[in-house]
Amino acid sequence: MPVFLNLLQIQMPVGALTSITHRISGILLALGIPFGIYVLDSSLESPQSYAQLLRLFDTWAFKAAAIVFTWALAHHLFAGTLHLLMDADVGSLLPAARRSAWMVNVGGLAVALLAAGALL
């Protein structure tokens, strides 16, 4: 039997949104590891590579990537901290859990906006 699902009509609870974005941000961060280590390597290699890195920091592509990465890191840290608190039974009842899930989603975006403000 064919099933038609209108994805726009599925109501996603805020906790589910936090959960899926915890995953997405985690995958983004994992993909970012080699780039992060490349930056660390160039920063330490030689004065020339250090200077070259500072020029790279000034490019639009790098700034855009840095903002996305900052969002992923902030969201992942906030959602992870919430996870740890809930393991300790803090805020695991539904109304508090909904409120804190909202705080994580908004907090991650707020940090990304701060980063954008600082970089652009």
């Binding site: 080699p34 280590i37 660390l40 004065p47 393991d87």
Partner: protein, 112 residues
Amino acid sequence: MRKVVSGLRAWLVQRVSAVYMLFFIVFLLSHFIIDPPKSYLAWQGWMLSPGISIATSVFFAALLVHAWVGVRDVIMDYVHPIAVRILVLVSLALGLIAIGVWVIRILLLRHA
């Protein structure tokens, strides 16, 4: 039983590595805000000092096991054919090991 124990271990590894990384990131961020490095020599001297390079190496060790547990969970949720799953998991493991070797070369084997 074995399965339960190994699942519990992954859960614990994920949390212990997360807490270390959280403290390290807060420390690193504070350092950059309070006393940002002003030159190549200042940055290199700080980063390759024994305490910081060891703490940073531990951070990357935590990061790599955290990424292993996390990405492995995602792969097992979405990649079902067993041969493909094994191939993807082996590639992930090799990639993370290669990154670990790279970090050791950067932080611990460099002649500063």
